[in-house]
Symmetry: C2
Subunit: 343 residues, 2 copies
């Protein structure tokens, strides 16, 4: 294939009119130019330059080749331009996905700030459960994903036993602030995972429920209650079941809905009680009471995941890094109307 570096030399020679001038312009020696052109002429099998006493002159073939080269070099420059735009957050795309409640709370804040700073980066956001999102991240369809996970069942048990979970401070800032960048082996070893915050679980009761006025509520107190929760197959629902079992009972599920507004509505209507993560409680119905449990059940851990190859030198997409910082910020400074919820 034609050597593009040589074509560039040819172009410069054509522009300057002599080997010597082109050498000067390219910071080469005249010898190098001469050899490059000679090689190019050998490759093409044709004379590209006519050697005159005072320099050189393009032949017809040389001219057509230079014209092609202009186009080639223009495209190369365009590619460099776009790379630099991506690097400088003046272009490119950031494809994101998050689970629904974060998509409605953390993401909008971060996205608004991102767009204000980098209006030229195209942003896309899909919603989905972690099980749907994680594979897409691995498949390279996403640049940043907001997932959640619950501590393993042992942790859940331990948390219940100790009366104070590993992240059992719903009024504090949890594990947020982004300093927790421990990468976990196993499922997520193709990702870089950053803990954003711990999303504590609160109990939602109808305002008139008899337990709504109890000073301190324990999970065990809800043994006889009917439960409203998300789909049985969802991680949240499984988590609720695990917590209840750890508290010594099997929850009686009266209804399932994956929309936490609907869940609140069902609770308000007296269908049952529910464990709802804080992020899903940015709006609390008038006829629903939210109470903290004691001890706190293990919180939902919200995690930002980014694609990251195995190699230690993997670089993040600049836009993803910027968005990650904004998300950490949003997580750290989010509004927490429930911070002093009665417990």
């Amino acid at each position: 294939m034609l050597n593009v570096a040589r074509l560039r030399v040819l172009n410069e020679v054509a522009r300057c009119g002599s080997f010597s001038a082109a050498a000067e312009a390219l910071s080469y020696t005249q010898s190098a130019i001469s050899q490059q052109i000679a090689a190019l002429e050998a490759e093409t099998g044709m004379t590209l330059l006519q050697r005159l006493p005072r320099g050189v002159q393009l032949t017809g073939t040389g001219r057509t080749l230079v014209e092609h080269t202009e186009g080639i070099l223009a495209r190369v420059r365009a590619a460099e331009e776009e790379l630099s735009a991506i690097a400088g957050l003046r272009g490119g795309e950031l494809r994101m996905a998050s689970f629904p409640t974060a998509g409605a709370t953390l993401m909008p804040v971060a996205i608004a700030r991102f767009r204000a700073s980098y209006p030229e980066v195209r942003l896309t956001l899909a919603e989905g459960e972690p099980e749907q999102i994680a594979p897409r991240l691995h498949a390279g369809e996403l640049d940043l994903a907001l997932l959640f996970e619950f501590s393993g069942p042992q942790d859940a048990l331990r948390a219940a036993d100790e009366g104070q979970g590993p992240s059992g401070d719903p009024g504090g800032s949890g594990i947020a602030s982004g300093s927790t960048e421990d990468r976990e082996p196993g499922l997520g070893s193709l990702e870089k995972r950053v803990g954003l915050l711990d999303d504590p679980m609160y109990l939602a009761l109808p305002r008139e429920h008899r337990l709504a006025r109890r000073r301190a509520l324990r999970l065990e107190d809800l043994r006889e209650q009917a439960w409203v929760q998300t789909s049985a197959s969802s991680p949240c629902a499984r988590h609720v079941v695990r917590c209840c079992r750890a508290a010594g009972f099997e929850p009686q599920v009266a209804f399932e809905s994956d929309d936490y507004q609907t869940v609140q509505g069902l609770v308000a209507a007296g269908v049952g009680v529910a464990l709802i993560p804080e992020l899903a409680l940015s709006v609390v119905r008038e006829d629903v009471v939210v109470r903290a449990l004691s001890p706190h059940p293990p919180a939902r851990r919200v995690i930002a995941a980014l694609p990251a190859g195995a190699g230690p030198r993997t670089r993040l997409i600049p836009a993803a890094s910027a968005m990650l910082r904004l998300l950490e910020d949003a997580a750290a400074h989010r509004e927490r109307p429930l911070a002093q919820v009665s417990r």
Copy 2:
């Protein structure tokens, strides 16, 4: 600047889906591919491929770079394509110029054959005197030029003295047939010059002229005649004057015209006699008689000139080579109605 060879590697990796497959496709080792991609990522400062267990996957940045690369490689291929078309005489351009009488005789024959064989090559032909054409050839504006020249004045004298010039056989093939490729130093060392033919000079007389019936005519016999010739500054006119002087007299120029048809008309009208080269006598008026002189005055030497750098490895434009062959052919096999002109 982005290294296009590396971009090509990236493209192939993207196409194949893995380093190993791309290595196979490009006949490299997997190691080479890995290093090239690593270098490309270092250059751009961004991750271009996501390493998956079963191969690799483009990142967003990688995809945009691949898209640019497609365009770049397409243009490179187009350039190669056109070069090969030029080399294969399936395209390109051949810019020619010739002096008028050759433009009306040799060129049409060669051009017709050329166009039949290589219809896709664009041909252009300009007319002009050697003094106009030669600089344009040197300036690279022409790919092939038909010039003429006369042997130097010494030769002219010697030819007249010896009674038989160095090319004094108007019935033979002269120096044609292209074997005479001696390059002359001085003015023409930037050109490759190929002698096509010797164009002998004939005397044109009015049919009723008293000398028209003489068995043998010598130049000296025309001492008292009035002469018609081309512009005083033209090489042909100067040649005529030189010949006459060598024969011992100064021609009396009655009229000048650069069009040999006009010259014939003037001769027919009795304005004077003229020395006219054979190529300009493809059509002879009824009322004009053409006679060979004895000894023959030095012939006009018709030369094809092509641009050729100093270097010995200079390659000709393929179209120019082909045209040169056709011109040599046309020169060797041209019709010579005057071959047995009375002398």
